[in-house]
Amino acid sequence: MHEWALVDSVVKAAEAVARESSLKTVGEIVLVLGELQSIDRQAVDTIFAELKARAAEPVRNARLVVESEPTVFKCRACGKTFAEKDCAALDPVEKEAVHFLPEAARVYIKCPACKSPDFKLEKGRGIYVREIRGEQ
């Protein structure tokens, strides 16, 4: 699963934040999954449980809260804001490409109003960490 590499980076981020802010324990990590990338949420939970068991001490008991973020595109040419459902559906191979590399969406998705491929991904691209909470 390529999710492994992404969850591994989340654990590493939590370890780094714990170190930098001298946290004794990290209680909660809030992870946001942008819907465009179709990350397997169950895989994320399973991999996180496996990785935190061998993580640095402060992260060993952290809870992962996963939030999903709908994708919002904004066309730079005509200004239209749109969602994935406003565009022609991607086939499974295209979806898989976007799963690996969300920028691949720029090949398959066009502005539904003006057909421009020059759009901004305002929200819901991939993963990011919204919050790491812990105690010093």
Binding site: F100, L101, A104, R106, V129, R130
Partner: protein, 237 residues
């Protein structure tokens, strides 16, 4: 707080890579991609564990130079680079783009670069050759910021347009503390003067047979282009 977790994985992803050599030259069309591919093949053929990363997102061409299938990479605990001739490991955004053009602005290049770096598992390598897009733009700045051990290899041509851009960029990099691994003079005439930049790694002449060898690693390794470039592979090991 909004953290990009991918940045925290970079150090570990490159810890098994001894030397990271970004092939640039900053001018477009000077032969960066053919030099990157043939140099990577030559290092691999010498038995060095070698990887090749194509970072030219909007103009990826190494898969064409090497004749690599644009198939999705294998998923493990990330993604595995494709394995090519002589065990060369190869990663490119072209694997995900279905042979289509991809328009990208700077921020999008940075995002794609972070993603590829965070998910690709290179393992143990003696050399990772990185084919850069022209310029000192987003990919160059972000990659050298994230992978601090990156050294640059400049491909220059005898034209003043290439030489002057390379000279001023090398001066900037020196001031900045970025290492110059060396210079490959491409399209160099037999009798012309040498580039003033050092250290010189190889002088490569125009090879009219290079075009017909594109797409085949074995044919590439037999070209006069490869013969000229082999001095660079010898000097790097």
């Amino acid at each position: 707080m909004n953290l990009d977790p991918r940045l925290y994985a970079v150090e570990e992803r490159f810890c098994g890579v001894k030397r990271v050599i970004a092939v640039s030259g900053w001018k477009g069309g000077v032969g960066k991609s053919v030099v990157s591919c043939v140099l990577a093949l030559q290092l691999a053929a010498k038995g060095r564990k070698t990887g090749l990363l194509d970072l030219d997102f909007t103009g990826a061409s190494d898969h064409l130079v090497l004749g690599a299938e644009p198939a999705f990479p294998k998923e493990t605990d990330g993604v595995e680079p494709h394995l090519l001739a002589h065990g060369l490991k190869f990663m490119s955004s072209a694997f995900f783009l279905g042979g289509k053009a991809v328009p990208m602005r700077g921020g999008e290049v940075v995002d794609a670069l972070r993603e590829l770096i965070a998910i690709t598992r290179w393992g143990e390598l003696d050399y990772l050759i990185v084919d850069m897009p022209p310029g000192i733009g987003d990919a160059t700045l972000e990659f050298s910021r994230l992978v601090r051990k990156t050294e640059f290899l400049a491909v220059v041509t005898p034209s003043v347009l290439s030489a002057s851009l390379a000279a001023k960029t090398v001066a900037l990099f020196e001031e900045w503390g970025i290492t110059l691994a060396g210079v490959v003079e491409n399209l160099a005439p037999q009798d012309g003067g040498a580039s003033s930049l050092a250290p010189a790694l190889a002088r490569v002449a125009y090879d009219p047979a290079l075009e017909s060898a594109l797409g085949s690693p074995e044919a590439l390794l037999k070209t006069a282009f490869a013969k000229d470039l082999s001095a660079a592979a010898d000097r790097l090991v």
